[in-house]
Structure formats: C-alpha cells, structure tokens
Amino acid sequence: MRALGWAYMTAIFIFIFLPVVVLVLFSFQDSRLPVPPFDGPTLKWYAEVLADRGMMEALRNSLVVALISASAALLLGFFAAQGLARVRLPGSILMRGLLIAPMTVSYLIIALGLLTVFNTLGFRPSLWTTGIGHVVINLPLCFAILFAAMGDHQKNAERAARDLGASDMQVLFLVTAPMLKPALLAAFFLSVTFSWDEFIIAFLLTRFDVTLPVEIWSMLRSGLSPATNAIGSLVFLVSIVILILLELIVFRKSKS
C-alpha cells in the first residue's frame, strides 16, 4: 500500500515535470533539432537567443506590460474590494458577481470582444491595448483575493483608526493597505505571472511591438529549433523566480 503511494506520487511528478525537463534539457542540445538523441551540452542557443534583438525587445515589452497591467489591476481591485467590503449598497452581491464574472470567460472571447471595441473606437492594436486586456483578466483575480482577505478584524482596526482621528485616506494607506500586505503582494505577483505568460490576448491585440509569447509563436512557425527551447527555459526561469519571491516575501511573513 505504501509502495503504491510512492509509485503514484512519482508518476504524478513525472507527468507534471517531464515536459519541462525535456524542454530545458534540449535547450542545451548541440545539434540543429531539439529531439532525441541528446548530443551533448552547449550554451550556444542561449547566446543566440540573448543576441536576438527582436527577442530581447519582446522580453522587455512583456515585462513592462506585466508590471504596469498588474499594478493597474491591483489598484482597481483594491479600491473595488474596499468599497464593496465596507459600504452597504443595494445590489452589492450582484456587483461582486459582475466583477468576478470575467474569470469564467475564455481569454479568446475577451480578446475578440476587446478587438471589436478597440476597432470601433479607432484604437490601433499595441502594447497599450494588450495591457488593457491584461487588466481585464487580472482585475477579477485581484478583487477576489483582496475581498476574501478583508475580515471583521480589519474593519475594527479601521474603525479604531478613524476614532483616533484618521481621515479616510489615512485609514486606507496607514491601516488597510499595510494590514493587507500579504494579500496585496500575492495578487500582484499572480497578476504579473498571468500577464507574463498570456498569449491569446497579446496575439490578437498587438501588431508591431509584441510581447514575448507572441514572439516565440512567430519563431515556432519557422520550425523547431533548440533556440525556442532556450527562450522557453528563460521564461520558465522568470516565472519560477517570481514564485520563489512570492513564497519568501509573502507566505513566510504571513505565517508569523
């Protein structure tokens, strides 16, 4: 029974990590195709990728879009959560539902909707429109995380701050936000990773300046190469770094 458990766990981990391991392994492939057999390690594909100006520009674009769209989503989600948690409004349950609803809609549908809207308004596809698209998908996430983190405990501390003479803005920035710091950081980092990885919206809403996933896609169309594995490994590395940061900064602190 115990052996079966171990076998099951091993199988699960192989299932989850085999594609990643293969991806990373063949980024070091010393021949022209990322397929077995493995011909010995080389870093030349990384050198090629890092020297590719289009690729590096796309990487920078991705970072900028991720940071700005995540900040916007976080700020809007925070205000929405604070408002709906503190003020009793008619239809607040409905509003909460509407705010979270975009999570259930496929990115493709959201992208098509945005494309239509931007076309009608005369906005050209660009990194800005992609950023707006990423705010649309990340705002519900930020709202849900922050709304769930706001409890009575917090409400009472805010009341005490007001009792001691704090204005609404002071309450927000000296009490509410610091108390929500773990949730704020979690929401921000998750939004950054989602925006960083996102392809469909970025594909439909960019034209000349593109984000990294779109650049990788156009690279893939010209055939498989260990260079795509190398850039894939780099993207994976960035995501892992963000996750580790999240674990170290947010979850370890919130435990104490």
Binding site: H153, N156, A157, A160, G165, A166
Partner: protein, 330 residues
C-alpha cells in the same frame, strides 16, 4: 481632560427594531459610569452613539455642552477601547499608542516620547518595540487603553474591554482601570453585562433593559434600593415576597422582594414555615434553598450566618426584613 456628557431623548432604531427608546442621562465630568445590562439591551448601541459610530435616529448628544449629534467619530473628544482591542497588527506598541498623536500632526520625536509615557502608565514601556501578536490578552488590553488615552480624550468609552480576560485578570484590571481613571480624571463610560464588575468600578451604574434606562444611580443605591424588578434582579439574587405576607394591598405593577441576606430565621415579615432543601458553604455564609410549606410551594434563597444552619429537610419559620418595593415597568 474631562467633560460632562448629556444624552437628551436619544432614540435609535435598526430598521423596525427599536434599540434605544428615549434615553435621558447626565454624566458629570470625571465620573466613572457603567452601562450595565444583558446582551441586546442597547448598551453598546448607546456607546457607539457617544463615540460617533452611529447617528441616533432622534435626540441629542452633548459633550462638554457642545452638540455632537452630527460630528464624525474622528472629530469628537472621545476615544474608544474596543471589545477586540482592534490594535494595528503591523505597528509596534509605540506606533500603536502614538497613532492618534500622529493624526494630530505631532512630530515623531514628541509623539514617541508621549507614547512611552503612556505605556509606562500601563506598565508596558519595556515592550514598546514589540508587535501586538507578541503580547498576552491582558497586555493587549492595556495597549488598547494606552492608545485611547494618548490623545487625552475628554470622554473615554470602553466597550466590554475585560470580556475576553479570565476571571482573575479581569478583577485585577478592574482595579487598575479604576486607579487610572482616578489619576487622570477623564470621564469613563464603560459597558458591561457583569454586575460584579459594574459594582467594583462604577461611580454610577445605569441599568439598561430593552433600550431603556431602568435605573441610574450609585452602586449602593442600585443594589440596596433598586427602582424596578428588572434592575433588582439583574444586580443580585432576589426572593419574591407573596403579597399576602405584606399586610397591605399591593398597588398596580408593584411587587415586593428581599435579597438573600435579608431572609432568615428571624425578621419583620413572617413567610410561614419552609423546608431547607439544599445548602452550600461560601466561607462567610451558608447559601440555603428553602421551599415553603404552603400551597404555592414558593422557593426562597437565604444567606444564613455561619453556624446557624438547620438540618437538611428540617422545617423552620422563615422571615424577611428590609423588603424592596419594585415597579414591574419603567
């Protein structure tokens, strides 16, 4: 800093529920007032109206002679010690206590100095750089008190501040609260449902029930000469005296009763024979349960002096003295 408080015809409703019904109370400056009553009697609602967290449906609140009915909590000369303390978990004790001074624009050096002074008053100055989660319940309670006192309020409001502490610590904190109040002279308004706590600390007790004040008077008077059946019952054990023993016709809505210490084997009013059913020793008295031999089988609780205990099952003539005359309505 201290001020008198005047509540004039204050009423408050939550929807169709009348939480407060025409409250008229006057607190003198420097008085320690306790609002006492069972849960749901409106005592916390009244405290929140004083603090500015609720606007009364009708009536006026005057603090130091100024009408506060439309003044927001942050602009009132009141601060509150909340039931759950509501400390700021991300700040040190010093920053917690200095928060109100910071909001009043006091510089960092000055407010830290002042915060340490107040922390010293509650005996926590050595822990000024700690955070609230490192403290025990009693210590958190003191920080909440220090934080509320730091801004020198004219009236300090306390919402069941000792409710979460164990009995021994609660008794100790009652004495400390009373001592601090004497020292600084601020008007304290303290909400509790614990009548022993009320008697221990109050200059004046306002007994509340169903959104009304049943009796507002010093503890001795509320205990010894209660106005209503409710406040008499809430302040301690009570024996109802059947009206036929009183020797005169009872008025409408009037009943007579006696405290357990005024029931005994001698006294002014004969209650007929009663059987001792059960007794317990409390150090300074025996607490005895009697059952009358008459048709009503009336139950009496008596505190008999040590050494004067009849046998269990023995029937003795029972007497009451110092009967209380109580109204059944306010």
């Amino acid at each position: 800093m201290t001020a008198n408080v005047s509540l004039q015809s204050v009423s408050h409703s939550f929807g169709s529920f009348q939480a407060l019904n025409d409250i008229n109370l006057e607190f003198s400056a420097g008085e320690f007032v306790v609002l006492l009553g069972p849960s749901g009697c409106g005592k916390s609602t009244l405290l929140f109206i004083l603090g500015g967290f609720l606007t009364p449906t009708s009536g006026q609140v005057l603090i130091g002679g100024r009408d506060m009915s439309r003044v927001a909590a942050k602009d009132r000369p009141t601060t509150t010690v909340f039931q759950d303390y509501a400390l700021f978990p991300h700040m040190t004790l010093r920053d917690n206590v200095a928060f109100g001074l910071r909001m009043r624009g006091l510089g960092k050096a000055k407010r830290c100095l002042k915060a340490d002074e107040i922390l010293d008053l509650v005996g926590l100055v050595d822990k000024a750089s700690r955070k609230p989660h490192e403290l025990s319940g009693g210590q958190r309670q003191r920080v909440a008190l220090a934080r509320a006192l730091a801004v020198e309020p004219e009236v300090l409001l306390l919402d069941e501040p000792l409710g979460a502490l164990d009995l021994k610590l609660r008794r100790q904190m009652q004495e400390e609260l009373k001592a601090i109040q004497r020292k600084i002279g601020t008007t304290f308004v303290h909400v509790t449902h614990d009548q022993e706590e009320a008697m221990a600390i109050a200059d004046r007790i306002a007994v509340m029930n169903h959104g009304k004040v049943e009796h507002a008077a010093p503890p001795e008077e509320v205990y010894l000469r209660p106005k209503t059946l409710f406040s008499a019952n809430f302040m301690g054990d009570l024996n109802m005296i059947p009206e036929r023993f009183m020797g005169r016709p009872a008025g409408a809505n009037i009943v007579h009763a006696a405290r357990p210490e005024n029931i005994g084997t001698s006294g002014d009013i004969s209650l007929g024979d009663a059987t001792l059913e059960d007794a317990a020793f409390f150090g300074t008295y025996h607490r005895c349960h009697f059952r009358a031999a008459d048709a009503d089988r009336t139950a009496y609780v008596a505190h008999l002096p040590v050494g004067a205990l009849p046998q269990i099952g023995e029937a003795v003539p029972l007497y009451a003295s110092k009967p209380l005359t109580l109204g059944t309505e306010v």
